[in-house]
């Protein structure tokens, strides 16, 4: 590739003076007009001649427009070149005559195109030259309105092929274009093109390198497969259907075979292991693993927590409610059996077998009292009794609600024991919930 490049026009090395752009005054002096016309009609060789000519000082207005248009044309041509060397980036189709739209896709340089259009004459000339440019620079198919990715890929492969001179051609075109570059905007495009072209060049050079030495990854892979013990007669059961490429059976230990030979070429220190096994020793990794796990746990917890909490609250509430209802049911059956006799509060709530159940019962009964389904009062012996509120007592109930007050009952373990003994309670009046079910 390098030799190809060198073989290009003798101008290639000399006239491309990147460090010294033609100074601005020169441009303003009006030397550009004849150049423009020549550049458009006969792009290429005429340019140098035009640069050396002294200009005949034409109409200054036209000159400005012409300069503008010329620069636009140069930019347009640069974008085309850039498009050619990096087809995959520019996936938008290019319409042949829409010079404005076709330029605006390229590489974020769209901003350059915000100027008002120059005279129609210039526009026409530009379009004309675009046509010419395309006719000589692009393969015919690239002019098609819609190009699938594969075509671009193909174009790039063409560019990379060692037989084609397309990259050299593109570089030469850029060289010629640069002769007419006068301002930074065009120079920036030129730089952009060069970056891409040199990347392509590097790839091309790499190809050349491997061509020369005949290293072919495909045949290497084939040889590796042979080494790995590929049996082409046997068909692998699962994957072979989707991928017709994969014919043949590869034994389980195929990679071990490669590994065994590989370690001969590696100064790979055999890893330390305990003869009779050991705890899994993985010092550096577990830290990360733990962190990851913790993170995962956290996320899961965060996700699960609200659900769980709601459930717990609900279920607890439900359980309490159910239990209260159950106890109320029990209380009401006792009342129904003996409507006139009040029940001793202690007899009712104390479970002689369990202090905890007793406390729980008192807790549940307190709801019944609060909701006004029963009331507690002291009998003549100043012992608390629980009695039902019947229809007849409604008045007194209303009275009661007015003077309703809260009490805190304290009951120690010793109290409970004493109560059981004193009242000789042998059986709970409220059966534990598990047994009732």
């Amino acid at each position: 590739m390098l030799s190809n490049y060198g073989r290009g026009t003798p101008r290639a090395g000399t006239s491309r003076q990147r460090d010294s752009l033609p100074p601005a005054p020169r441009e303003a002096s009006g030397c550009r007009t004849p150049q423009r016309s020549q550049g458009i009609d006969d792009r290429g060789d005429g340019v140098e001649a035009a640069e050396d000519e002294t200009c005949p000082a034409p109409d200054p207005n036209f000159e400005l427009e012409g300069d503008d248009g010329k620069r636009r044309l140069i930019r347009h041509q640069y974008r085309e070149l850039i498009h050619n060397v990096q087809p995959r980036l520019a996936q938008r189709p290019i319409s042949l005559l829409g010079s404005k739209s076709s330029c605006s896709f390229a590489l974020g340089f769209c901003l350059c195109f915000l100027q008002p259009p120059a005279s129609t004459k210039v526009e026409d000339a530009m379009n004309l030259s675009c046509l010419k440019e395309r006719a000589c620079a692009l393969p015919p198919k690239s002019g098609a309105p819609l190009q699938p990715q594969s075509v671009f890929q193909k174009q790039r492969e063409d560019m990379l092929s060692s037989k084609s001179n397309k990259l050299t051609d593109a570089l030469e075109q850029a060289n010629q274009l640069f002769n007419r570059v006068s301002q930074a905007r065009e120079a920036a495009l030129d730089a952009q093109f060069l970056v891409l072209a040199s990347d392509l060049g590097k790839e091309k050079a790499n190809q050349l390198h491997s061509d020369m030495t005949l290293f072919d990854p495909t045949s290497y892979a084939e040889d590796l497969l042979k080494y790995m013990g590929l049996n082409r007669l046997e068909v692998q059961e699962s994957d072979s259907e989707e991928e017709p490429l994969h014919i043949g059976f590869l034994p389980e230990d195929s990679w071990l075979r490669v590994g065994i030979i590989s370690v001969k070429f590696l100064k790979w220190a055999p890893t330390f292991h305990f003869l009779f096994g050991s705890f899994k020793t993985d010092p550096p990794v577990p830290k990360q693993r733990n962190e990851r796990q913790r993170k995962k746990d956290k996320i899961e917890e965060e996700r699960a927590m609200p659900d769980e909490l709601k459930k717990m609250e609900e279920s607890q509430q439900e359980a309490t409610e159910k239990e209260v209802e159950r106890i109320l049911g029990l209380l009401q059956t006792y009342f129904r059996e003996e409507p006139e006799t009040p029940i001793s509060f202690f007899d009712f709530v104390i479970d002689p077998n369990s202090f905890a159940r007793t406390v729980e019962n008192i807790f549940h009964v307190s709801f019944i009292i609060r909701d006004g389904f029963a009331r507690i009062r002291l009998d003549q012996d100043k012992l608390p009794i629980i009695e039902p509120i019947t229809q007849g007592n409604e008045e007194s109930e209303q009275q009661n609600t007015q003077i309703r007050h809260q009490d805190v009952i304290s009951l120690s373990y010793q109290d409970w024991k004493d109560l059981v003994r004193t009242f000789e309670i042998s059986q709970p009046m409220i059966s534990p919930p598990c047994c009732s079910k």
Binding site: P217, D223, L256, V258, G259, S262
Partner: protein
Amino acid sequence: NTKPPRVFPRDSARSPEPGPTATPPMPSTSSSSSSSSQAQKKPAKRTEAQIQQKVNELVQFLLVKDQKKLPIRRADMVKTILQDYKDLASVIIERAGRILEEVFGLQLREIDQKYHAYILINKLERLEGDGMKMDESVAKMGLLMVILSLIFMKGNSARESLVWDVLKKLRVDPEKRHKTFGDVKKLVKDEFVRQKYLEYNRVPHTEPPEYEFLWGPRAAHETSKMQVLRFVAKIQNREPSSWVSQYNEALQDETASASAAGTGN
């Protein structure tokens, strides 16, 4: 290089008290006076047996740590084993390295001068049927060698797409779980990279981004261009010299490393 002089080793260490030559140049005078006086007091208290104990612990630590094949950082050695013996770190690491060499046939090499990361490499040649354990870590080395050889043969860098293409031909699909390697993508792009066998970089000026694999520093220590070329030659049943440019490059590499080793000693 700040490595302590090689002269120090056994003889001086064997003497009942490590003389002033035994202390590495670490407690320099540039540090504040209080810390330097502390550092100077400490070595005096330590007996040879205590130091030997630390050396032995470090050897064991290195052997266990090497199971993961991740570079072992000096900071980790200090944190886990050396602790109060930090001032003697260079000495202890060097003595541990010698034990690894003499007893286990391994060599402790510093692969990262900046972060002081060390790896163990094998000094002995592997023999056919040497009875060493053959498990999936050996199979992984096979995969690694294939990738390393691709990188070298393709001019010291291989595009990611090429690597996957070849591996796919070898029935290793990066998108699927492999029965020997598990998550192949992770193994190649993560584990091998962390172990410093491979480097994984973006190719500049590619849009969409493309990535390439290069040799990591560990690969250069554990193998050489010539060895890899011999591996390829063996697989392809040819002479290494049949790949002219790679062969020349490998030869150059060999002479360069030989002369470097010569000057190193």
